[in-house]
Symmetry: C2
Subunit: 226 residues, 2 copies
DNA sequence: TCGCGCCCGTTACACTTTGATACATGCGTC
DNA sequence: GACGCATGTATCAAAGTGTAACGGGCGCGA
């Protein structure tokens, strides 16, 4: 069944990128490349930079005393990650696929006079971040694992979906454990939910975690709980 | 049992207040009084003001298509609520106890040049907000209802606890349904969890939802899952 | 003042979902 | 070919939910 699902869409994940506007200021941004698995920063690190993702995907996590891990968010191209509180980072951040990121100095956060445009941009990013975090709550609070999973796939569809004829292609950069820790489930339950979505022909999935959304409407209905 | 628990601490909830610095700018803040149940704003409202809570508690919620409600956050004295995305409010906001709030014009969010001090303050608020939202995820992701509930009461302890001799007094301004919708549980489960905490002599609770934290350490251990 | 209905909190019971555990499969690497 | 890693599947136990019922407090109107 899987072998019949070999869709060759050409572009690779890393090619989904966002144009970073070139700016002329005292605090010109610096581009960095990082590999999958590398950390951008750790929780409680003194914060020197915030990072805008140009390509690739990062994972923002919090570690708990009992050893459990909560995935706070995924950083997709265009997102700004690493906004600090009290001068320190509030999460772990590591790449789950090769990334290019643009680093901006944190000092600019509290110096609006120095570079108003940059400050405006950072404020915009913080406000967007708040909205994304609020969206995430709706997934965690939702009751059924199938609904949570559908809502998550809907998010991916909207954030990193690539048109492919009548359907949409979504390359999953994260594994089942990441999804589980994002949704407050176990990897097994995520696996069951995805299997159910495949059985219902809502999505198709090959061995390389490349997904095709077959029934966009059904996915959104499940995500909405209707 | 309840009648034996009549502790008279004198101060009322509304007396927990935060000093709002008087500022001299083009955009002087305006104080408003609102009653319990009144709305400050609705989801998708065009955002004209952000509000800093001076006294009282507000509730930030999102309504879902299936009728369920997610409590995104509670706004305690000192908190800033109503930070918009794309010029619109992203949640409902209503008071759950009589409130005094200080309104600042949203226009200042994207005009750092006009009032740098105000902009710095709003940025700080946004960054704090992000951290609080992240903290909330750890409560939702936690496994057991007892742990979630303990974590929530720990939050209240830290935010609105009032020293009372060797113990700490916490007046719960919200009802069981609010707590349930905040933690992703049902009101019944919250009730059971609180009953368990009372049985274990971790907290005491009277008929007026006034709580005394008897065993601070036990509460935090439960909240940490240890 | 009394009676009434309503809301909230609590408790009990049956049921559903999820978690925990175990094991099989497939893939890549050594 | 052995091994590690990630994923999928199956089974059983545990936890939470849904439903219902009960009691207390409160506001309202007769």
């Amino acid at each position: 069944m899987h072998s019949a699902l070999h869709f060759d869409a050409g572009r690779t994940q890393s090619e989904i990128r966002v144009r970073i506007p070139r700016r002329r200021t005292l605090s010109d941004p610096v581009t960095r490349r990082i590999q999958a698995g590398q950390h951008l920063f750790h929780e409680r690190d003194s914060a020197h930079f915030v990072y805008q993702i140009a390509s690739g995907v990062v994972r923002l996590t919090r570690l708990q005393k009992d050893g459990r891990r909560q995935v706070i968010a995924f950083g997709f191209p265009g997102d700004v990650v690493g906004l600090p509180a009290d001068g320190r980072h509030t999460t772990e951040c590591d790449a789950i696929s090769p990334c290019e990121v643009v680093a901006h100095r944190c000092a600019n956060l509290m110096q609006p006079e120095r570079d108003p445009d940059l400050h405006r941009f950072l404020m915009q990013s913080a406000l967007d971040d708040i909205r994304f975090l609020q969206d995430h709550f709706l997934m965690l609070g939702r009751r059924l694992a199938l609904e949570k999973t559908a809502a998550f796939l809907e998010l991916l569809l909207d954030r990193i979906g690539e048109p492919l004829g009548a359907y949409t292609l979504v390359r999953l950069p994260m594994n089942r454990s990441d999804i589980a820790d994002y949704l407050g489930l176990t990897p097994e339950t995520v696996s069951r939910a995805i299997t159910e979505l495949r059985t219902r022909k809502v999505v198709a999935l090959d061995d390389a975690n490349t997904m095709i959304v077959l029934d966009d409407d059904a996915l959104r209905e499940l995500a909405d709980g209707t």
